[in-house]
């Protein structure tokens, strides 16, 4: 199954934001092995659900995740991903609309690798998402 081999997981409840992120990644050619999940519950299911016992399952090399999402929010996903031995080495980049200190602090406390306040301008948005994604993908590559 294709989705089990996704390189990048994008967790984003807004289809608009998801599309912008995917287009941003497309500019640096990172959009091909991308899986879009629509909320925290889907993300938890992806990482820790039954089907992931399947041998073909491969951990993604990068997670891009929104914070404010229905059902299970980004902080909860972050906490679970970063406290499980299986998933804690995956770089998680939080993409959020919030520039509130308490959100930023909480994310870094729970182990987020980067926190990006989504810029309103498309150019800086694209640039930021592309750069930070490339950085963590590269970083993850070197570790392996």
């Amino acid at each position: 199954m294709k989705e089990k081999k996704a390189d990048i997981i994008l967790v984003e409840d807004s289809d608009y934001d998801a599309e912008l992120a995917m287009r941003a990644l497309a500019r640096v050619n990172l959009h091909k092995n991308l899986l879009h999940l629509r909320d925290g519950a889907e993300a938890l299911d992806y990482f820790f659900g039954v089907r992931n016992e399947d041998e073909a399952f491969k951990l993604p090399r990068l997670v891009l995740m929104d914070l404010k999402m229905p059902k299970v929010n980004g902080i909860e996903v972050l906490q679970k991903v970063k406290s499980s031995d299986k998933t804690k080495t995956i770089p998680v980049v939080v993409l959020s609309s919030s520039n509130q200190e308490k959100d930023i602090e909480a994310c870094y406390r729970y182990g987020a690798n980067s926190y990006v306040v989504k810029p309103v301008e498309f150019d800086s948005y694209t640039k930021t998402v592309a750069e930070i994604s490339s950085y963590w993908l590269m970083h993850n590559q070197t570790l392996k």
């Binding site: 287009r23 404010k68 989504k118 309103v120």
Partner: protein, 391 residues
């Protein structure tokens, strides 16, 4: 003073005895009334405020006037009685009959010194009793007022607590409201901006110049609204921020502000900073305030050939006054009081861009430090913005 004199009423059936008692008791601080006649005695008693009655058992037994009637019925207990008795039996009898009275006895033949001493003693007791009861009354009044005050106080405390809770609740509500606004308003803006740009870039071949210009306007506005949201958030966050006051070298603060503004807002203005006195405050907040003032000065002098901005300080009592002066378009003093309000702008959007929050932020930062802000200007002749920091 006549009023402060004490009155002793002597009622004795025998003139000699009566006179002897009177002689023993008279002094300049007293009025001594005496009579052998029961009716006369009653009259005297009714007309004067009597502090002590001196009498003997015989008179007590025979007198049917209202005084002794009342005494026997257990009334008039506030008037002390001094009896000149002949023997113990009389003393015992009267003691048993007149319970609850202030009562004392002298044995006949009475030593005048003893009579005087006993009388003094009774009068003192009476006076003390009166004082005590006056104090009691006072205390009672005080108690009831203090009870009322306490009740009022606790009511007030209660309502203050309620108001406190309300204020806290609404502050929290506001905070979460602001948070939601910041988060949820930005997302659609990003989409508007993003998709407009994608349209421009990916479909530019099919788009006319005019269509591209219009897309540009959409983007500009979305971007501007993003900036508005950011500024509003900064402003609302300031009210919750605790200031970290330390001694700041204001030259350093200004240097940092000039540096940062140069990066954020490239300009051609010549900025000169004079030597500034140190102040106490939060470095990053004061820097922010100066940056906002500089940003304004740069903006409003941008059309001048030789835009000049000067940062300096004035001497003042109990405070340092700093200023940022420019030679830009200035403003009319008629509107000076409107400068520091949120969303107040004196220039149209077409003339100068801006969100109208910059100076409101300056004002809030300076107020948080206990200082003041004000401005002076003249249309087309530049503006000077002042802020003070208490020493």
């Amino acid at each position: 003073m006549e009023n402060n004199k004490q009155t002793i009423l002597i009622l004795d059936g025998t003139i000699d005895n009566m006179d002897a008692l009177a002689k023993a008791l008279e002094n300049k601080n007293r009025v001594v009334l005496k009579t052998t006649d029961a009716l006369e005695g009653a009259k005297l008693f009714a007309s004067e405020k009597v502090d002590l009655i001196v009498t003997d058992p015989h008179h007590y037994d025979s007198d049917q006037s209202e005084i002794f009637d009342a005494l026997r019925k257990g009334n008039l207990t506030d008037i002390p009685l001094l009896f000149a008795v002949n023997n113990d039996a009389e003393e015992t009898k009267i003691s048993s009959e007149l319970t609850g009275h202030m009562i004392d006895f002298v044995k006949r033949p009475a030593d005048p010194a003893v009579v005087s001493a006993r009388a003094n003693h009774l009068l003192e007791i009476k006076q003390l009793r009166e004082e005590v009861s006056a104090l009691r009354e006072e205390l009672g009044k005080y108690k009831s007022t203090s009870e009322q005050s306490e009740k009022k106080l606790s009511e007030m405390e209660g309502s203050i607590k309620k108001k406190d809770e309300l204020v806290n609740a609404s502050a929290q509500e506001l905070q979460s409201f602001v948070y939601t606004v910041s988060h949820d308003l930005r997302a659609p803006l990003r989409a508007i901006n993003g998709f407009t740009q994608i349209l421009e870039e990916e479909f530019s071949k099919n788009l006319s110049e005019e269509a591209l210009r219009l897309f540009g306007m959409i983007k500009q506005n979305a971007t501007k609204m993003g900036r508005l949201i950011d500024d509003l958030l900064t402003f609302s966050r300031l009210s919750r921020k605790q200031i970290v006051a330390e001694t700041m070298n204001m030259n350093d603060v200004v240097f940092a502000a000039i540096n940062e503004i140069g990066k954020a807002q490239p300009h051609k203005a010549k900025i000169t900073a004079k030597d500034l006195p140190a102040a106490k405050g939060d470095f990053s907040l004061i820097k922010q305030a100066i940056m906002n003032l500089l940003s304004n000065a740069i903006k409003f002098s941008s059309r001048k050939e030789n835009a000049e901005i000067e940062i300096g300080a004035l001497k003042a009592e109990n405070e340092n006054v700093y200023y940022v002066k420019d030679n830009g378009v200035g403003f009319s003093m008629d509107y000076a009081d409107k400068l520091f309000g949120v969303f107040q702008r004196l220039h149209s959007e077409g003339e100068f861009e801006g969100t109208g929050i910059g100076l409101a932020i300056v004002k809030r930062i300076i107020s948080m430090h206990g200082g003041r802000v004000w401005a002076e200007g003249k249309t087309d002749e530049g503006a000077t913005f002042y802020f003070s920091l208490p020493l």
